[in-house]
Symmetry: C2
Subunit: 341 residues, 2 copies
């Protein structure tokens, strides 16, 4: 019997990632906070005077290439962690930044990345307050990896988890799907269509703050659909809440360039990573108000209502095609685009 | 002019590390919390009902080999972050764990490491509450890198920073110096002396808690002397407080095996990394009480008073040799032992 090894697909955000988390990490680090498997941990025992809780999250970034249209690994490392806090309803406040550098990395590359992190942190209104630097020999890492962890404040009453999903809830996306993954893919593969396709990489705390201000009681849960794209997020929700989700395929905003590039490469944009979009489930009677709030923000101009929660086909996500047919949007087992974040 | 690149020495904890932090990170991430350059950031704005503040820290671990006598990368990743919190006077509470895995890593290796993290977290009384996993292709990383970030609670009144150092303060170490670095070095190089040399890797929050309980007002500052060893810590203190520090070379506890191995390899044990030791500066009149408190704990049995703060030679650390001569213990510019943590 050959020995089981780590596969690229274990980092994909798809089925194998989930199995790894459950089997290895969940079993060993058994505690109810981790078991919730949210984008950020909610630390109930750490409360401030006004009853606010803390949220705490981490992500490592291994994206290749380091620079891509619309962003770079540093911008991504700040946005990703800010967004993981924001979708839990937290106000992101403090970030750490830890670097693993390969010997021989041009110092100017590091400086560009760090400057980009600083600029993105200012945009997001967070401070980078602690850090670490390790250097490994040539060949022991691929240029530059970054880890950011983040701490945010969850106001009293904020509670956005998939378990809150109810039949009839509307599913909204804040804009076009797949921009980040396809922009990185095109850059990596040196594909030059006549496009100006850019990553959507952006901090979402402002957009989410506007939404929550506008419809404070409507939001059931939120998620930034990164690895595995919209489909991974909706499958996680359907599984966690034991509901079905149906999306209208032609309601999902897609850039023409993303659609075209996906067709050429044989990819499905609904599985492609986003880094500046949020998926929101809201109570049906406030869906239009939520949509208006998203569209009023510069990062949400192309927001759309794309589907709803149903009691049919629990734990399954189904797309209704323009012709009225249905296709099941299963979680991918494997890896569509490695090192996309 | 050739382009400046990242060198192994930039990760050494020595002079080049400090220059990198100041020049690249300090300049871009300019804020007073980061500028304090403590082992953990103190988040003054996040206070609980009783006035406790939060501490927040991060470290990445790239040690080679992954397993070594006395520990492994997982145990190290928990201890290192627990200790960075504890030396700030914080009670470590929550950790994140983020993995960068190389495709092809045996799953059993990951499982051993994760089990070790879980066991160490239980020993230290902390919970691992959030995490992340990335996988990169074969050759793009060296097996397994781990980042941990940590959040702890700093009780009201706890305030341990080098600026508090005063002339006459005694310098204590909680035990023998250099065990971790030499144990890893021997393992890595396949050197087999007739030794049972082990890394000292251990969570120090219990030891430090005992010390602070015993002499609550005596402690000026604390640090775990990791990369760059005792000398790096004392140089940072001397620089930050603009004082001199003198150590009695023959008062510093050293294992015979470490002394011997260092002689053979041409290393100075005072520059070698520790992962389960704390250096403490205390008010002179309570130095003996502090020593007794350290020695009463299983991790501090070999504690010793090794030196004191002086107004002579500000910003310099000097060792008095057994023969009464003096030698200056400068921060190393370069890298003595790469990938030691």
């Amino acid at each position: 019997m050959s020995e089981e090894t780590v596969l690229l697909a274990h980092g994909s955000g798809g089925q194998l990632s989930h199995e790894l988390v459950e089997r290895v990490f969940g079993r060993q680090f058994d505690n109810p906070i981790l078991a919730a498997l949210n984008d950020a941990a909610l630390l109930d025992s750490l409360r401030s005077t006004d009853g606010a809780r803390l949220a705490f999250t981490t992500d490592s970034y291994v994206i290749s290439p380091l620079f891509f249209p619309g962003g770079d690994i540093g911008k991504l490392a700040v946005c990703g962690t800010v967004n993981d806090l924001a979708v839990m309803g937290a106000q992101p406040r403090y970030l750490s930044a830890a670097y693993i550098l390969e010997e021989g990395l041009p110092m100017s590359t590091l400086e560009r990345v760090v400057a980009s992190m600083a600029e993105t942190a200012r945009t997001a209104g967070v401070q980078i307050v602690t850090g670490d630097t390790k250097v490994v020999g040539h060949g022991a890492a691929d240029g530059l990896f970054i880890n950011t962890a983040g701490v945010g404040i969850v106001p009293p009453g904020a509670d956005y988890v998939p378990a809150h999903l109810q039949r009839g809830d509307r599913i909204l996306v804040s804009g076009t799907m797949g921009d980040h993954g396809m922009a990185v893919m095109m850059e990596r593969e040196g594909l030059q269509f006549s496009t100006d396709l850019q990553s959507d990489c952006a901090p979402l705390n402002g957009l989410i703050g506007s939404l929550l201000d506008a419809v404070p009681d409507a939001v059931r849960c939120m998620r930034d659909p990164t690895r595995g794209g919209l489909v991974a997020t909706l499958n996680e929700w359907a599984g966690a809440a034991e509901v079905g989700i149906v999306v209208e395929e032609n309601a999902i905003p897609l850039r023409e360039q993303v659609r075209g590039a996906c067709e050429i490469l044989g990819l499905d944009p609904l599985y492609v990573a986003n880094e500046g979009k949020v998926v929101v489930a809201v109570a049906p009677e406030q869906a239009e108000a939520a949509l208006a709030a998203l569209r009023a923000h510069p990062l949400g101009r192309e927001a759309a209502i794309v589907g709803q929660v149903t009691s049919d086909h629990p734990r399954r996500v189904v797309a209704r095609t323009p012709l009225g047919a249905h296709r099941i949007l299963d979680m991918l087992v494997g890896e569509q685009l490695p090192r996309i974040c």
